[in-house]
């Protein structure tokens, strides 16, 4: 408006121009016209609004008594047709409205209803926006003396647990409703957040739980334990404009990590209906199955022994039962699984390619419960309950197969007398000792037995026992101390006529771990600790009786002491930029008693030295720096980069195609150096369609050193030191991973694709040229869909496609002494045919009451029966021995199964 007067002012300043006096009246007219014009505009616009009635002016007659905010708004929508828009936090608000309105305008209704709450309403197009406003209820600053403003920052900390079961919740997110500050609970459900003094609303969310808004008035350090309610179903029906429940953390610098929802695991169809976290993770990018009949997996081109599997802090050496059908982790009792694909935080170490950290449930400390299931070849049972309600609980979980029961039906006597079973038992108890301490004691026992006709057999198993103590020093300082015992062993028994042989092998660990987390201010979160493991490895003991002439032998037991210390800081540099930097220092000492050798290039022993008990043969010290950075571009996307170095001192030396439990675990020696990996990765993360979809792209390059392989003429069952059979070299792997995930709605699932390469260069193999590692897999695609048809039925399907394994095929054949043998040129230069299959699954909810629920699960593995090659071998033709042929073995086609699950 003022602009219109400017010419007049100018005129006044400079004096009237020597124009005719007509100008002044003209300007005045112009001025009037402008004013008139503006007024007209205003009137026009307001009249438009008047003609399309404002939603706030709509009248309503409604009576509500203490109805939660969201429901109240829904009812108003139903009555007036006016829609409300509000974010997550508002939807979860626990304020209750009481409204008694008769033909009143919505404006009046809302004014009154929200008067005493920190919420504002305003018009947003044809909808009404409900917004949280912290300042709304602030009283004017009339009495400064009465409530002195608490200056500075204070810390809130506590444990987040489930209301129904008392289980601690891992990875729950706690952030300010409107602010950028936030944190998440650690592996024991503990969180700590430092904020400015004053009033705040904390938004607490976790997968599978109802989101909560907790108001706090911060004037001093507080202890705030929070309980959350289970939220089984999550069909979205409201307009959401902010972050989804349990959305991933775009700010966190941690890359290459996947967190799995146990409910998702239960919906993905699997072989023989046994839901398995290890099988489900193989459907994510970068993690590849080692093939049917094998439980191992490869992460980013690494070998199966490069994955650290932890069950409640204890290392598990053999992660799978019988022929890879079942993992050693009973999915019934799993609370959380975190998978790090190589850029693990500094607290983890000892394996190059990945860390799979599995935390089991602690046991419902509110009420007693039993759950379980019966499947085609295995049954599971879970019993848990409080020892002292709210304070302590126990959990026992057991599984056994009964495949051998079917063997009894066979007519073949060999099959009839064979045994094929495994069992595992998880037992835990935990005790809350006061506000600051919690003690856990847990054990795992698993065993597999495979015997043929009571004659030949192999059994193997893991045993672990753990004692853990959580201690909260103060609001910022959390500590976990663990004492762990772990044992993995196998025994092969062979009975031939009068001869009996027994071959045993064992690896035993005693482990002490101390992990601490300390929050320094609101921008730094420090974690540091130590880890010490004493390994006893018995590589083999042969005891023989009978007339075979075999003398009982014992290979020398090996001892090693593995120590590590780490420190790491996560620094919130700015609102958008976070950095994690730290390092792990590991020292692996090989200890006597024992004899250690020097070996020349041909594998012959040149020297041997004997060490006495306690003498240190050699110590390998490795500095393993870890660094990661995350830059949040905007609300929906971020970029991350990371670098990690890892050292591995335990090596699984395998010569067999499917990998067998008799593969040897060998520790580093004076000749076998620690394997090293340096991994660089960069990633881009974006949430699409208002956080309904998550898109992840990560690319990596990993350099491997001190890789091992067997010589071509290696004899595994020799008494000679293993180093005489080994060759050494290096490796490299690189790839690009894509993941698109839909986490809400009736249809959920993901599409995962990895493009990658994994190569080795070993001195003495393939003419010292780079060759494809067996696990090289160019393309790896998985599509998973879970569709919630209705309250009773959930359908699921997954489709898997990947390039066949890199294998060595013959390039010719020749005769030696009348028999045909094959000639080979390049190692792993050929490929098995591409592998693909479709699995279908359906789950029907049978009964669901508060006391008892049950469901029936159907699955069909390899639904279109693709004949995937388990192995391809070569032989003389049966009818014409002068011809040779290639034979493909397929394991599984069309395998249906039914499982019945119950819970009460």
């Amino acid at each position: 408006m003022a602009d219109y007067f400017k010419p007049l002012k100018v005129m006044k300043k400079n004096g009237p121009l020597r124009f005719p006096n007509l100008i002044y009246p003209l300007m005045k007219l112009y001025q009037l016209l402008s004013i008139f014009f503006c007024i007209t505009l205003i009137l026009t616009f307001s009249s438009l609004r008047v003609f399309a009635q404002s939603p706030l002016d709509k009248t309503i007659t409604i009576k509500l008594n203490n109805v939660p905010l969201k429901q109240a708004l829904d009812k108003i929508t139903a009555a007036t047709g006016v829609r409300f828009t509000y974010n997550e936090a508002v939807a979860a608000s626990n304020i209750k409205l009481t409204i008694n309105a008769k033909a009143q305008s919505l404006k009046q209704v809302l004014e009154v209803a929200l008067a005493n709450y920190p919420y504002n309403y305003s018009q947003l197009d044809q909808d009404i926006l409900i917004r949280y406003d912290a300042t709304k209820l602030k009283k004017p600053d009339a009495e400064p003396a009465a409530k002195p403003a608490a200056a500075g920052k204070f810390t809130i900390s506590g444990t987040i647990t489930s209301k129904q079961s008392g289980e601690t919740i891992i990875g729950a997110s706690i952030r300010l409703v409107d602010g950028a500050q936030g944190t998440s609970t650690n592996g024991y459900g503990f969180y700590s957040i430092t904020l400015q003094a004053g009033d705040h609303q904390l938004l607490v969310s976790a997968i599978g739980q109802k989101t909560l808004v907790v108001p706090v008035s911060l004037t001093h350090d507080q202890r705030l334990n929070i309980t959350m309610e289970d939220n089984a179903q999550e069909l979205q029906t409201v307009t959401i404009t902010a972050t989804q429940k349990g959305a991933r953390d775009l700010k966190s610098p941690q890359m290459g990590v996947e967190k799995l929802n146990i409910k998702e695991i239960n919906d993905v169809p699997v072989l023989l209906g046994e839901h398995d976290v290890m099988k489900t993770i193989q459907l994510f990018p970068g993690i590849k199955s080692a093939g049917e009949g094998s439980g191992g997996f490869y992460v980013r081109g690494g070998a199966t022994d490069q994955n650290l599997l932890m069950l409640d802090e204890a290392t598990v050496y053999n992660a799978y039962h019988l022929l890879g059908f079942f993992s050693t982790f009973n999915s019934d009792a799993i609370k959380n699984v975190s998978i790090y694909k190589g850029d693990m935080p500094a607290q983890y170490g000892g394996r190059l390619s990945s860390v799979i950290d599995v935390k089991m449930n602690d046991g419902n400390n509110q009420k007693f419960g039993v759950s379980g299931g019966v499947g085609v070849i295995a049954a599971r049972l879970n019993v848990e309950g409080p020892i002292q309600k709210g304070k302590s609980s126990f959990l026992i979980s057991a599984r056994r197969t009964y495949a051998d029961a079917f063997l009894k039906f066979s007519k073949d006597t060999v099959v009839k007398n064979s045994q094929l079973y495994f069992y595992d038992i998880n037992a835990k108890a935990n005790l809350v000792l006061g506000d600051k301490d919690r003690v856990y004691i847990s054990g795992y026992l698993g065993k597999d037995v495979l015997t043929a006709n009571n004659v030949n057999g192999i059994n193997w198993g893991n045993t672990t026992a753990t004692l853990r103590w959580n201690h909260i020093f103060n609001n910022r300082f959390f500590s976990n101390t663990s004492f762990i015992y772990s044992n993995y062993d196998y025994e092969i028994k062979v009975k031939q006529d009068v001869n009996t042989y027994k071959i045993t092998s064992r690896i035993k660990d005693w482990n002490f771990k101390e992990d601490m987390q300390y929050d320094v201010g609101s921008d730094h979160s420090l974690s540091f600790g130590v880890n010490s493991v004493y390994h006893t490895i018995k590589p083999g003991e042969i005891s023989a009786s009978g007339n075979s002439g075999i003398i009982s032998q014992t290979l020398e037991t090996r001892y090693a002491w593995d120590n590590a210390a780490y420190v790491s800081d996560t620094w919130k540099v700015t609102d958008r930029f976070s950095l994690t930097y730290g390092t792990r220092l590991s020292a692996f000492s090989i200890i006597g008693p024992g004899t250690y050798y020097d070996v020349n290039a041909d594998g012959a022993i040149t020297n041997s030295t004997h060490y006495n008990s306690g003498q240190i043969v050699k110590t390998y010290v490795n500095l393993e720096p870890r660094a990661a950075a995350a830059f949040q571009l905007n609300d929906i996307s971020s970029v991350k980069a990371s670098y990690a170095r890892n050292a591995q001192n335990l090596h699984l030396i395998s010569n067999s195609t499917p990998g067998s439990p008799t593969d040897k675990w060998v520790a580093s020696t004076n000749l076998i150096k620690p394997e090293l990996a340096d991994q660089f990765s960069v990633g881009y993360y974006r949430d699409l369609a208002e956080h309904k979809y998550e898109f992840t792209f990560e690319t990596y390059y990993k350099k491997l050193q001190n890789q091992l392989d067997y010589r071509n003429d290696a004899n595994i069952f020799t008494n000679q030191p293993i180093e005489t059979q080994l060759l050494y070299g290096k490796g490299r792997t690189y790839g690009a991973e894509f993941l698109l995930r839909k986490k809400t709605g009736r249809l959920t699932g993901w599409v995962s694709y990895t493009l990658s390469k994994s190569e080795r260069l070993i001195d003495g193999i393939n003419n010292n040229q780079w060759y494809n590692a067996r696990q090289d897999r160019t393309h790896d695609l998985a599509v998973v869909g879970i569709y919630k048809l209705n309250d009773k039925w959930t359908l699921s399907a997954n489709f898997v496609f990947y390039t066949g394994d890199a294998v060595t095929y013959p390039s010719g054949k020749y005769q030696i002494d009348g028999a045909t043998y094959y000639y080979y040129t390049n190692r792993n230069a050929s490929r098995l045919p591409a592998y693909h299959r479709l699995d279908l699954g359906a789950t029907k909810q049978l009964k669901k009451t508060k006391k008892y629920s049950s469901e029936l699960n159907f699955s069909l593995y390899n639904a279109y029966g693709n004949r995937n090659a388990y192995r391809i071998f070569f032989r003389d033709n049966k009818t014409d021995p002068n011809k040779t042929e290639a034979v493909r073995t397929t394991l599984f086609t069309y395998v249906p199964s039914i499982t019945y699950n119950f819970k009460f």
Binding site: K495, N712, D713, K813, Y822, R875, R888, T893
Partner: protein, 274 residues
């Protein structure tokens, strides 16, 4: 000790599941033909024989394709023995009879290339006896119990001994490789089973009552044992080994094959009734 294979037990049990085998067509890359030299000198007349052949393409006929025109000699204790061609690719010397403890040097000149090898004939360890046992697990195709030949011998104490056994059933040579070493059986009385897989279900390979069973025992040197061991573990095409590869030959010059000087003892029985 014959290797006890986890994979064998595994395959039996996997066979219970819905697995299947199918012959498929594979396009394999074929390398240039490789020279194969098999040379033997035994302590019997007629045992001095060298076969030279070429490797074939996978799709070719597997039969022996000899190469003529090679000059083959073996030198021992200062004497050079010439090997004359008796068939295409087969070169023999009728008079050379090996003596345990003596060293034999093979030289083959073929197409401007020279290949050499050395083998020392080990001392004789006699085959004491052979007999037949019933296998606990396996059966023949007609469900009768599978019967296996067992060799018995006394392993001497002071040396490292390596053995090869060749089994003949009714005069037909069993093509499977049977080798033994004394790493676990030094100075013991050894009863060793000659286990093999009758993968083409050929009745002629079965041990049955009334058939003639003959076993030859060769005492071989370390390099030949290594060759046969790596041949059996890496080149049979059976995919038990994750990394199939060519055997470690004891002939220099880049050929497939081996040269072995060994003494032989034999035992023959008629297979008794079960």
């Amino acid at each position: 000790m014959h290797t006890i294979r986890f994979s064998a037990i595994l395959m039996i049990l996997l066979g219970l599941l819905s697995s299947c085998e199918k012959v498929i067509d594979l396009k394999l890359n074929n390398s240039a033909p490789q020279t194969v030299i098999e040379g033997t000198v035994s302590n019997e007349a007629g045992g001095a024989k060298v076969s030279i052949s070429l490797s074939k393409k996978f799709t070719d006929d597997s039969s022996f394709e000899g190469i003529s025109g090679a000059q083959v000699t073996v030198e021992a204790d200062g004497t050079i023995y010439n090997f004359d061609p008796t068939a295409t690719g087969v070169y023999q010397n009728a008079t050379l009879v090996g003596i345990p403890g003596h060293t034999y040097h093979l030289t083959v000149k073929l197409n401007d290339k020279t290949y050499t090898s050395t083998s020392t004939m080990p001392q004789i360890v006699k085959l004491d006896s052979i007999y037949v046992v019933d296998d606990e697990l396996s059966t023949n195709k007609d469900k009768t119990k599978l019967r296996i030949a067992v060799v018995k011998y006394q392993d001497p104490a002071n040396v490292q001994n390596y053995y090869r056994f060749i089994e003949y059933i009714d005069g037909r040579k069993e093509k499977s490789l049977f080798i033994d070493e004394d790493e676990f059986t030094n100075r013991q009385t050894v009863n060793s089973r000659l286990n093999f897989n009758n993968d083409n279900d050929d009745p002629a390979r079965e041990i049955r009552t009334g058939k003639t069973l003959m076993v030859e025992m060769e005492c071989i040197d370390a390099a030949v044992y290594k060759y046969l061991f790596s041949l059996n573990s890496g080149s049979t095409g059976n995919d038990n080994n994750a990394a199939p590869s060519n055997p470690t030959s004891n002939i220099t010059g880049g050929v497939l094959g081996y040269f072995s000087a060994y003494p032989i003892t034999r035992k023959t029985i008629t297979v008794p009734a079960n």
